[in-house]
Amino acid sequence: MRLSLLGEVLKNITRRASTIKYPVARELTVAPGSRGRHYADLTKCTGCSLCAIDCPANAIAMEKLPQPLKHNPRGVFPVVDYGKCVFCYQCVFVCPVKAYVTTEVFEMADYSTDVSRDSSLSTLQSGESP
């Protein structure tokens, strides 16, 4: 039996194009629960540094908290460098207090260095500091 691909090709002529005209048309979606941009919720974070120790890409640096915002005895919080991050989510998994907030945001191409500092600090301003 000889099978021609012609039938399949003709069928596709009337179909909607598979190509996504990104970023002009933002039809690009990810599966629910996809590993995207993540940051530490400082109302939960204890500054234990376990995420920074385990990070295979050395993308997490423990930074000192600004003085008035000191919320844990160690006074440090994790800052994720998204340029280095490989999105393995080991930090999310290993966190003993489940402090990481995960999102499905994947559009992180930027001219400047993108880090999680502001996102993390905003959790303290909106939430209650212990």
């Binding site: 590993r35 295979p56 290993v94």
Partner: protein, 386 residues
């Protein structure tokens, strides 16, 4: 043979990575082929030594983009042995589902690449479009369409909830339908069959002598599969048949892959329908291993993947040796090109699934005139139809 000594380290010639093929030709007949590798040494083995067991999980996964879950599985199951932890049955099932999804999209990728090499660009586009469905399923289960990163010592990082389980089952039907169609195309299309049949034939005895692995070995009539011979993860509980064919040519290797992908669909369906209850995500992970050494092997989409892990105790491995399947399939098969036409070289190469784009160029030496020409694989494929 000095050639085998050139590549040092875990070399996986994945897409767009450099490997060079020196083809000696008499007119259009191939009379000698020399495979040069070693352009892509990244020092992954050393990196594994320098980092902790935990970080090693992610480094092992990044040896290869396509078969990252099997690399992690090989590393993790070896280290788990040293650490004395056992993953729960549910975690084993989830790991197996991810690895089989990976097998499906890997086999679809090489089918697409093969279609492109033999000039079926439309078929390439169609397969790549449908491969995205399999990648979406992987994203649904693991959280990323390429890097699974789901393994962790003593389980998996993410459980599979009911909603996603039923969605995967549902979407799997569409993947299966398309796979069946592509299998039919590869089996019955006159041009494809003529282009692949009798090309790059490896006899059963030669296949064993050359130590080829995976679909290349099974395409030569050898019924060998690590999943069957040395079952790991949930494979002892999942029924499946080892696909093999006796023809031994490029067409047989492609058919083995497509049949295997269809078998994987059945295996995933079986695993999803009988997913054991209980925990899958460990509460804490061990960080130190006992001194000792372990051999770990897994059936990657391209064949047997092998890790030798040595531990001196403590938090870091002492030595990790990786042997990828493409290493054997590409380096040991130089003799199979001989006697074929130049245009068959890319076909034979693609049939070993070395991720063809890693061959950035091919140097053609005309034995009579001594003329040396660098050609791209596409140009080479269009030289003539032998």
């Amino acid at each position: 043979m000095a050639l085998v000594e050139i590549p040092i380290g875990p070399q996986h010639p994945a897409l767009h990575e450099p490997v060079m093929l020196k083809v000696r030709a008499d007119g259009e007949d191939v009379i000698g082929v020399e495979v040069n590798t070693g352009y892509n040494h990244r020092g992954v083995e050393k990196l594994l030594e320098k980092n902790s067991w935990v970080r090693g999980m992610y480094i092992a996964g990044r040896v290869c983009g396509i078969c990252n879950a099997v690399h992690t599985q090989t590393y993790v199951q070896g280290v788990e042995n040293l650490m004395g932890v056992e993953p729960p049955p549910r975690a084993n099932y989830i790991r197996t589902i991810v690895m089989e999804l990976e097998r499906i999209h890997s086999h679809m990728l090489i089918s697409a690449v093969m279609a492109e090499v033999i000039g079926f660009t439309t078929l390439f586009m169609l397969i790549m479009r449908d491969r995205e469905k399999a990648m979406y399923l992987k994203e649904l289960v693991t959280g990323n369409r390429v890097h699974a990163d789901i393994h962790v010592f003593g389980g998996v990082k993410r459980d599979l909830d009911e909603v996603r389980r039923s969605r995967v089952l549902d979407e799997l039907r569409r993947v299966e339908e398309r796979l069946k169609y592509y299998r039919r195309v590869f089996e019955t299309d006159y041009t494809i069959v003529r282009r692949l049949s009798e090309v790059g034939r490896i006899k059963k005895s030669d296949a064993l002598k050359l130590s080829v692995v995976g679909p290349t070995l099974r395409g030569s009539g050898v019924r060998s599969d690590v999943r069957f011979e040395d079952p790991y993860a949930a494979y002892p509980e999942i029924p499946f048949s080892v696909i093999y064919r006796d023809e031994g040519d490029s067409w047989a290797r492609m058919m083995v892959r497509l049949d295997e992908a269809l078998e994987s669909v059945n295996m995933i369906r079986y695993a999803l329908e009988r997913l054991p209850q209980g925990p899958a995500v460990p509460k804490a992970i061990p960080r130190t291993a006992r001194p000792g050494e372990v051999f770990s092997r897994v059936e990657a989409p391209r064949g047997e993947l092998f890790y030798h892990i040595v531990s001196a105790g403590g938090t870091n491995p002492y030595r990790v040796k990786i042997r990828t399947p493409s290493f054997l399939n590409v380096l040991n098969t130089e003799s199979t090109y001989l006697g074929h036409r130049l245009a068959d070289v890319p076909v034979i190469l693609a049939s070993y699934d070395p991720c063809i784009s890693c061959m950035e160029r091919v140097l053609v030496v005309d034995e009579r005139s001594g003329r040396r020409v660098y050609m791209s694989l596409k140009e080479l494929a269009q030289v003539g139809f032998g």
